[in-house]
Symmetry: C2
Subunit: 162 residues, 2 copies
DNA sequence: AATTTTATTTAGCATTACAAATCATTTACT
DNA sequence: AGTAAATGATTTGTAATGCTAAATAAAATT
């Protein structure tokens, strides 16, 4: 009778499943999970500054820098000092990096997409609208009135003492 | 028009939000994320052997052992050699560990639960059934022909070389 | 010009994560 | 029974995270 518990259990299953997927992609690509996160972010948003990148994946700049070090050593990303603002460092995928990203992550999503497309139109709408509900519920409890992309700053504002 | 893309974006948002929640619980409780995962698993399934625990959270026995070392030093868990099978070590929450787990995680879920309960009954059913769909799709692409609870072995079978 | 702010990096530390090796115990086989 | 193989947990060694605090440098402000 307690549907909210059911929902939470299912959510946990879903998160677990995607976590396993990430780990598998990680193994296939030879990259660690945070390295992969950075590469995927770059694929969408390159070129991007180190700071923006850190904000995007909710990690410290220092952490991101060290991960970028390793990706640079593997020649998957490139760094370039900003021309107008010389404090910034712009990160880009190298050709090799772009190639690597072209392969792995899509195959995973393709299967999801295929199964999703197998559903009836009304079912698709139902799933999307349910996801919107859940996203709202989760965002609301944590982010409340803050914009989606500014989580790093929110964190610092909520816990200034740490 | 591409609803599957919408669904994937929302999924990513949801996973991101729960990830942030976990990090906040982590900060509040003074435990790291994997430590928290172990404590939560113990809360549900204690007493449990080290190996079972590792399987449950999809980490190596060696990794779990070292995390347990730290939790034991903080006196949040206890180890006990098995009586019938002396190779096994049974893990339990200490009183302090149980107390700690009683506090933190519920408050997070409470808000989800409250918002969930605010919805109409038909909406709740819709959300749950949509989650079931998604969980199935994600499981299906990863496990396909394998039983649900045997992921550790599957991993090893798929990548025996690594 | 001096100060403050912004962006990044460096350094040091504790924690994860895993593979390989080890040790004790249990099970299977002859 | 007695050896061989498997199992469960730990140890060891190595690489990668992830954080804070401090250092560096450039830009913006006063």
């Amino acid at each position: 009778m307690d549907k909210s518990q059911d929902a939470l259990v299912l959510l946990r299953q879903i998160i677990r499943a995607t976590d396993m997927q990430d780990k598998e992609i990680s193994r296939c690509s030879g990259l660690t999970l945070p390295q992969l996160m950075i590469m995927q972010t770059l694929r969408l948003s390159a070129p991007i500054s180190t700071g923006e990148l850190a904000k995007e994946i909710s990690l410290t700049q220092a952490t991101v820098t060290s991960i970028l070090d390793r990706l640079e050593k593997k020649e998957l990303i490139s760094r370039e000092r900003g021309k107008e603002d010389k404090r910034k460092v712009w990160i880009n995928l190298t050709t090799a990096g772009g190639e690597l990203m072209k392969g792995a992550p899509t195959t995973q999503q393709d299967l999801f997409t295929r199964r999703f497309d197998d559903m009836q139109t009304w079912e698709q709408s139902m799933v999307v609208s349910a996801l919107e509900r859940i996203a709202f519920m989760l965002d609301a409890q944590h982010l409340d009135a803050a914009p989606m992309l500014d989580i790093g700053q929110l964190d610092r504002a909520v816990h200034p003492e740490s």
